[in-house]
């Protein structure tokens, strides 16, 4: 045996770029079991990478941590929920170009033999047809999973995606409203998962309660110190004018009836009350309870209203047995169907959602294990409303914080899964598979001006997310873009600023093209809005009066002695002109100008002479020049004859 050489991040073994790859290494030597490091640099198109480090389970059980650089001081990744797993598949969201360090230690101390196998593979990226499941992750930095509604397998991951506990999809038009619990925003998506808008709700605390009228309006519950408030948002993100204040600090689930006259509500802060209350949207007060509490059960997470106005609720018992019971009520609150799914149910995330093509069936998502932990998996059931018969049923492995909740296995098989989280929705249209991607980086500069604190708002089009953002000088925004064209970046310059764009690959800023693995930098340079023009400098000299006892003076010649021959090579100033005019009335009115050349370049002997200049009893001369040359006026000579009267 030999001592491993990859015992820290700086000496980590690079697994290369070809996935999947399986690596084996004996990590013990002379009674010591070593911690070893590997690294992988994410490639274009990578969204989620799967890691499966495993040993024989009886002696060596590898414990895995993931880090990002620098290799001299690696940082646990993701920062919000570092991934740690023992002999279990791990999935990590990745960013192309970033290097991830995989630290594998022995969870069982110094054991021998310690034979490590490490399988690394890339998550699939498949089209998600209408009807696929949409399961978001409430763990910051973890992506959205789109699951097959046939077998629960992951079709594709989407990243970045806001992390949240709640969401809703409109069944007709397909828009999705998703809670972003990290930024306390609501993000509205089109049916193809393109961002329509981000709604800032940072002034209220989102309550994980989002529902809809199933036509065009979302209902969102928000907490307060003593009251909860319900808001509405249109399918374009416009906030509704009416809000309702409920005498309860929190709401766990809300759902309006189809006529939008009442809202079914669960949730009382700090209680296990599973009562379904009825909030009258017209009178702004509680009506009689819709359904009495089911003893010992927690407030349900989901209430769904079906096409016949019946109401389906999944009750989970707040005891170790976690009994799950699903009940369907008519609009008056009378029980139509009820079914018990027995005990052994995870109480955290039993969820309901509508089915895509049958307004009178629904999907139930169950965790069929004894809580979160080893062996946890999900079961998805499509249930017919009329008799609660099962149209479809299948199971899938689930992950929490990126770590599989399956039991540890010796077989080196990696797979991917959804989180034990929410929301659980059904897509209304096909979502294409993310293809290979490139990167678009928008960089803000103010050439020649630093320290500028002005905020410059931008819009991004062509499916880039976010669709609006702001930058200050020296900052940038990075987008991951599917290979292709049609992307656009447009700044709305604040008053007083003008923007010019430079695109690193020469494409049009309104129709950016991105190739696989390419980083396209859009530099939006702002300068102070101004125009400038270059004027000639007009120069004037006006002499003292020339008179002699106010008799007529006859002027036959005026000769200006000035620097001559100073004309420019070309353009204005190549033949500099002197404009002479005069006043014969003491400086009150002036003759037309008479122009004379002061000599082109090199005409140093040029004489500047005007002749036949009339008569005056009082004469003031005016010299005006404006050509852009070096004007130096020395003196002037005149031929003048004095009259007799």
């Amino acid at each position: 045996m030999a001592v491993p050489t990859n015992t820290d991040a700086t000496t980590a073994t690079d697994v290369g770029t070809t996935l999947p790859v399986t690596i084996t290494q004996q990590v013990d030597d002379s009674g010591t079991t070593y911690t070893v490091w590997y690294k992988y640099t994410a490639q274009s198109g990578d969204v989620v990478i799967g890691l499966f480090p495993f040993g024989d389970l009886t002696t060596y059980q590898p414990l895995t941590h993931v880090y990002t650089g620098p290799d001299t001081a690696p940082v646990l990744y993701p920062a919000s929920s570092p991934i740690i797993g023992v002999n279990l598949p791990i999935q990590i969201p990745v960013t192309a170009g970033t290097t991830y360090y995989i630290r594998i230690s022995s969870s069982t101390g110094n054991v021998s033999p310690a034979n490590l196998s490490l399988l690394i593979q890339r998550a699939e990226s498949l089209a998600a047809p209408a009807g696929s499941f949409f399961i978001n992750d409430d763990t910051a930095d973890f992506p959205l999973a789109l699951l097959s509604s046939v077998d629960g397998s992951v079709l594709q991951f989407r990243s970045p995606f806001p992390n949240g506990e709640s969401g809703e999809v409109l069944p007709v038009t397909g828009q999705l409203l998703i809670e972003d619990q990290v930024n306390n925003n609501l993000v509205l998506y089109g049916p193809d998962l393109s961002v329509i808008t981000t709604i800032d709700v940072s002034s209220v605390l989102l309550d994980h309660a989002i529902s809809s009228d199933q036509v065009d309006t979302f209902y969102v519950g928000a907490s307060g110190d003593t009251n909860a408030t319900v808001y509405t948002f249109s399918n374009t993100g416009v906030v509704g004018g009416t809000t309702w204040t409920l005498p309860s600090a929190t709401v766990v689930a809300i759902a309006p009836n189809l006529a939008e006259t009442k809202l079914y509500v669960t949730g009382q802060a700090g209680t296990l009350d599973s009562t379904i209350k009825t909030w009258n949207l017209l009178t702004n007060s509680f009506d009689a309870d819709f359904a009495a509490a089911m003893s010992g059960h927690a407030a349900p997470h989901d209430i769904i209203v079906l096409g016949d106005n019946s109401v389906v609720v999944a009750y989970t018992k707040a005891t170790a047995t976690k009994d799950l019971t699903v009940v369907r009520y008519d609009a008056a609150g009378s029980v139509l169907n009820t079914h018990s799914y027995g005990s052994g149910i995870d109480g955290i995330a039993n969820r309901l959602t509508h089915a895509i093509d049958d307004p009178n069936s629904f999907w139930l998502w169950i965790h069929t294990s004894n809580g979160v932990g080893l062996g946890a998996s999900s079961t998805f059931k499509n249930i017919k409303a009329s008799d609660f018969s099962e149209i479809a049923s299948f199971s899938a492995q689930s992950f929490e914080d990126g770590v599989s909740q399956d039991v540890p296995k010796v077989t080196p098989t990696a797979y991917f899964g959804h989180s034990i989280s929410c929301p659980f929705l059904v897509l209304r249209v096909d979502v294409v598979a993310p293809g290979p991607t490139g990167t678009i980086i928008v960089t803000k500069t103010t050439p020649g001006l630093s320290g500028i604190t002005t905020t410059f708002p931008f819009g991004a089009s062509g499916g880039l997310s976010p669709s609006s953002f702001s930058l200050t000088s020296g900052t940038s925004q990075t987008f991951t873009a599917t290979v292709g064209s049609g992307y656009g970046i447009a700044e709305t310059p604040p008053t007083g600023w003008t923007v010019t764009y430079t695109v690193s690959n020469g494409s049009d800023v309104n129709n950016l093209t991105v190739a696989e693995g390419e980083t396209v930098t859009v530099t939006a340079a702002n300068t102070v809005t101004h125009t400038s023009r270059t004027d000639p400098v007009r120069r004037l000299r006006q002499t003292a009066h020339l008179s002699d006892e106010q008799v007529w003076l006859f002027f036959s010649k005026f000769q200006l002695d000035c620097e001559t021959g100073v004309g420019l090579n070309n353009g204005q100033g190549s033949d500099p002109q002197v404009m002479l005019s005069w006043s014969s009335d003491g400086g009150h009115t002036w003759s037309p100008e008479q122009w004379m050349s002061a000599g082109k370049q090199g005409e140093y002997t040029r004489r500047v002479i005007w002749r036949r200049l009339g008569r005056s009893r009082d004469r003031v001369w005016r010299i005006v020049v404006s050509d852009p040359v070096a004007w130096r006026l020395l003196t002037a000579y005149i031929d003048v004859a004095k009259g007799t009267s």
């Binding site: 001006l449 000639p536 120069r539 003292a544 002695d561 404006s626 003196t635």
Partner: protein, 368 residues
């Protein structure tokens, strides 16, 4: 052939029949000490080329010391660099007045600024701008002398002085009032190691008497029966100061101190112009080119600036030409520094800073 008296200053008198001499965008240069073909000739004034446009306007003040240059434009404070770039360091209060500057250099690494009635200290090492409360706000001007920053309170007889070499420390007791006359201080300007307090009718001069607790006192026997009509016309020039005067008899004379005695340097032509257009918003700036020391007086309502050449005592005019309306309009500049080996001037109506040079024969004009 007769020789015509072509070369001369502006001298447009109240009676055009007496004299209508006008000299715009030329200045007079003598040929002595040589034996020139003529005793004096006219030289074209410098042109302008755009140097930098700041994102705030107008340019309300420029300052340079020891290789670092600064500007206040609108409500923004910038450092300027030789490569025609600038760094924004913070906002300042803004009014129609100019900003004023003074620095204690390497003794305290501070640049003091007054702007919009507020006093600021810019730390020249940390590059941070901080508003400092003196206790006599609003203030008009700051000067530096003998380790103290001095700041005068607007429309009062009061001025305050800082702790030694520290413009962030102001003792409420370190406040003086001019006492030899009762009129308010309009402008405060240091000349040599003396502080001139130009009042609204009279003026007095204070000096550092060396008393650590009460360093400043009026110079005995010095009292000037002439005040200042517009604060920002007061400028150091030619080892002296010049300002636009006013007293109980009237206003509109440009004075230059000869020792402690003001000497009238304006002529009737200039005084007629000043009385015609008024002193509201008047400001002056000073520069030296080829040995000509110019005092440029900008009156916002006059179509030109009046320009005094200390080297030969002549007044000429500076103006831009509005080719559309065929009229003279005031020149662009309202403040000046000599920095990076260049004359830089700040635009009176936008954020442009221009390089001014006698080798530039055109005027590049920025419009916001």
């Amino acid at each position: 052939m007769e020789v015509l008296a072509l070369v001369g200053p502006s001298n447009t008198l109240i009676s055009p029949n007496a004299d209508v001499e006008e000299t715009i965008n030329f200045y007079v240069e003598g040929t002595d000490p040589g034996t020139g073909k003529v005793k004096a000739y006219l030289v074209g004034t410098p042109g302008l080329v755009k140097w930098l446009v700041l994102p705030d306007s107008p340019v309300r003040g420029l300052f340079e010391q020891d290789g670092r240059a600064f500007a206040v434009a609108g409500s923004s404070f910038f450092e300027l660099f030789a490569d025609q770039s600038a760094t924004f360091y913070g906002t300042v209060a803004e009014d129609d007045n100019l900003a004023t500057f003074a620095s204690n250099g390497s003794a305290g690494h501070q640049l003091a600024i007054t702007s919009g009635g507020v006093f600021y200290i810019f730390d020249l090492i940390a590059n941070t701008l901080t508003a400092v409360t003196i206790g006599i706000e609003p203030v008009t001007m700051v000067e530096f002398m003998d380790g103290y920053f001095l700041v005068n309170k607007t429309d009062s007889r009061t001025f305050a002085f800082s702790a030694l070499e520290d413009g962030t420390s102001w003792d409420p007791l370190d406040v003086d009032e001019r006492s030899e006359a009762s009129d308010n201080i309009v402008a405060m300007i240091r000349s040599h190691r003396e502080i001139w307090l130009l009042g609204s009718q009279t003026s007095e001069v204070w000096y550092d008497q060396g008393d650590a607790l009460n360093p400043f006192a009026p110079i005995q026997g010095v009292f000037i029966e002439q005040g200042c009509v517009a604060a920002f016309t007061a400028q150091r020039i030619d080892n002296s100061i010049m300002w636009a005067g006013i007293n109980t008899d009237g206003s509109g004379v440009i004075w230059k101190a000869n020792g402690y005695t003001p000497q009238r340097v304006s002529d009737h032509s200039v005084e007629l112009g000043m009385q015609t257009y008024g002193f509201a918003g008047a400001r002056a700036w000073v520069y030296q080119d080829d040995g000509h020391l110019f005092y440029v007086l900008l009156l916002p309502y006059a179509p030109w600036a009046f320009c005094y050449d200390v080297s030969n005592g002549t007044w000429t005019k500076r103006a831009s030409w509005d080719a559309t309306h065929c009229v003279w309009i005031p020149p662009r500049a309202q403040c000046h520094i000599y920095a990076f080996g260049k004359h830089l001037v700040g635009d009176r109506s936008n954020g442009a800073i221009y390089e001014q040079s006698i080798t530039i024969y055109t005027e590049e004009v920025v419009s916001a």
